[in-house]
């Protein structure tokens, strides 16, 4: 959790091509994610953002190319090493994916139970701590079906940070939230990044989030099936003159800047 003052990038993606069977989703992706970045994956619906995320966390194997985490290639390591690398990742999924037969406390405690030798009492205590960090103190014994969508997103966040991950991946964390909750969630993500010294990768379309917390990004295009650009979204807004990028960042209002 302390500084790893490494100058090289935390995650590097090189010549990545992703396919489902024969169906090409994206190709030739090249970008770097630095330590402590809040990195945004953006692009229209169905362009393969979730797919990219799932490749980066080691769920799917790339059709071609490499993903380096701390300079070791995720898919050139042995299965055991990859599992260990994956354990430094905390992930929240687009649909929440809280296990519905377990209480929030048991959900958050599950990674601790699987990967540490903590006593059951200690696990409950840590789960309680993580839930209180996301503002859900007192909801330990609730089932996922008994809480609201916004609370579910935060509970998923608590589970993602259970093992003090070095890299956090969020798939559309604020989709379906009201603007105030979305803003609070953004603040929470920023706070976690700063205090845990984590690197954060977010899939999102929320322009407000993109500009306020993102400091690096990649833009995927569904038509050409490759990335159009990468960099700080605020810089892209002023300096990138690709019409598709401008359209996206300005909610379709292709302004007179062009």
């Amino acid at each position: 959790m302390n500084d790893e003052s490494s100058t090289s990038a935390h995650i590097r993606v090189r010549n990545l091509t992703m396919k489902y069977g024969d169906k090409l989703i994206q190709q030739d992706l090249n970008f770097d994610i630095n330590h402590n970045d809040i990195f945004i994956i953006m692009g229209g619906s169905g362009c393969g953002k979730s797919t990219l995320l799932k490749h980066m966390i080691g769920l799917y194997q790339p059709a071609e190319g490499q993903i380096f985490v701390n300079d070791s290639s995720l898919w050139d390591e042995t299965e055991a090493t990859r599992q260990k690398m994956m354990r430094q990742f905390g992930v929240t999924y687009q649909a929440g994916a809280m296990i519905s037969s377990l209480t929030l406390s048991e959900n958050v405690g599950m990674p601790l139970e699987l990967y540490t030798k903590l006593q059951p009492k200690e696990i409950i205590e840590l789960a309680r701590l993580k839930l209180s960090m996301v503002g859900l103190a007192g909801f330990e014994n609730y089932y996922p079906s008994e809480i609201s969508g916004g609370m579910l997103k935060r509970a998923a966040l608590a589970r993602a940070i259970a093992l003090d991950p070095k890299i956090l991946f969020f798939d559309e964390p604020s989709a379906g939230l009201d603007p105030v909750s979305a803003r609070l969630l953004d603040d929470l993500i920023l706070e976690l990044r700063d205090s845990m010294k984590a690197t954060i990768v977010i899939v999102t379309h929320e322009l407000a989030s993109i500009f306020s917390i993102g400091n690096n990004s990649v833009f995927l295009d569904p038509e050409t099936k490759t990335m159009l650009t990468t960099g700080n979204p605020n810089t892209l807004l002023t300096d990138c003159h690709l019409p598709k990028v401008q359209q996206f960042l300005r909610r379709g209002e292709v302004a007179n800047v062009l």
């Binding site: 037969s101 903590l118 006593q119 200690e122 205590e125 859900l136 103190a137 330990e140 845990m196």
Partner: protein, 376 residues
């Protein structure tokens, strides 16, 4: 190791300094705040708690958890605690953990109910379930009334899909079970009847048992396991996805759209399957009669025709229609009342099968009693 990472030093009579050092990792386990508590209890004059983290190495949640618990204990004992000497990340995470206080009344404690409580709540639950089921039945009747009036909204394709699935697609399993059923009946009868030289009555036994009881009942139990469970799972997962709510908002009655075609399909198919099961059972019995008892096919059939009047088939057929209603309704009822999680859908499926089979047996007993009293 456990003793090393935290030590306590007294700065003055009133100030307790907590020295945090070394590496903190959740894989070493959590620190117990007992020793801290012992320190402040043995020195009642303590009024301030400070931290010294100059020797701290790597840290993670285990330290946050420890600091949070010291914070809580200090508050409880009215001590001033100063955590600002800790690394900034820790201070911020502790602040985050304490930012949103526990919402009043949110906590749900698992209380173990007393026996009487438990019994009472179970009875209340049974009563609630019963009235809910009756309401459900009433809703379905209303839906049938709408069907007769022609105002019920559902997709005709759905009906055909369910008819296909309940009828032709279940023939395999119905064939297997019915043939075996007929053979078992014939075997059991043969052993007894042979002793009296009355083997020919095997035909009557098989015919009567299949026609009046077994064909309808076995088919119904098969359909409860097959179709009732499927109905509950389908409707239950539609609940999970809020599809049922979506139908309601579109002004479509979920009873018309979901329950009606399923019930109709099963009620249509159940008597047909029962007739088929009868034929298969009788064939199974004939197989045993011909091989074991050396009866000829024509003797077997003639004996059956002579001793098993048609009314037994009709009673079986009547029961099968009611069984169809019971199985479809228990499947749909459990599905529509399913909770909104994966495990709740599983529970609903189990309940549908159990309820279906219980209702089948109970109704069958009732019919047997009534027909015996009436002498039918």
């Amino acid at each position: 190791m456990a003793e090393d990472v935290v030590t306590f030093h007294r700065q003055s009579k009133s100030i307790l300094r907590v020295l945090i050092k070394g590496d903190w990792n959740i894989s070493f386990g959590l620190q117990n705040p007992e020793r801290f508590l012992a320190h402040i209890k043995s020195n009642p004059e303590t009024s301030h708690v400070e931290f010294d983290a100059s020797l701290l190495g790597a840290w993670d949640s285990s330290l946050i958890s420890y600091v949070v618990s010291l914070n809580a204990l200090s508050k409880e004992h009215h001590l001033k605690i100063d955590i600002t000497q800790l690394p900034e990340g820790i201070v911020r995470l502790v602040a985050l953990a304490e930012a949103v206080p526990e919402r009043e009344g949110a906590a749900k404690n698992k209380v173990k109910p007393v026996f009487v409580d438990d019994l009472g709540s179970r009875l209340i639950n049974v009563y609630a379930q019963l009235s809910a089921f009756i309401t459900f039945f009433g809703e379905t009747l209303l839906s049938i009334a709408r069907l007769v009036k022609g105002t019920a909204v559902f997709r005709r394709q759905d009906l055909f899909i369910f008819l296909q699935d309940n009828g032709p697609s279940s023939l395999g399993i119905v064939t297997l079970i019915s043939v075996l059923m007929g053979m078992i009946l014939a075997f059991v009868g043969a052993v007894q009847l042979q002793q009296f030289g009355a083997s020919i009555y095997v035909a009557s036994l098989v015919g009567l048992a299949m026609a009046r009881e077994m064909a309808a009942m076995m088919t119904a139990i098969i359909m409860a396991g097959r179709t009732g469970a499927a109905y509950a799972a389908q409707l239950g997962s539609m609940q999970v996805n809020e599809e049922v709510d979506a139908l309601k908002t579109m002004g479509v009655s979920p009873f018309d759209f979901l329950v009606l075609p399923r019930t109709l399909a099963l009620v249509c198919m159940m008597p047909l399957l029962t007739v088929y099961a009868n034929v298969m059972g009788i064939l199974g019995g004939a197989l045993v009669a011909m091989i074991m008892l050396d009866l000829s096919w024509s003797m077997y059939i003639e004996q059956m025709m002579a001793t098993v009047p048609l009314k037994h088939f009709l009673i079986g057929l009547f029961k099968s229609i009611i069984f169809g209603v019971l199985v479809a309704l228990s499947g749909c009822y459990m599905g529509m009342n399913s909770g909104r999680s994966a495990s709740a859908v599983g529970q609903a499926t189990t309940n549908a099968v159990v309820l279906g089979i219980v209702l089948i047996i109970v109704f069958d007993s009732l019919v047997t009693i009534v027909t015996t009293v009436l002498g039918v």
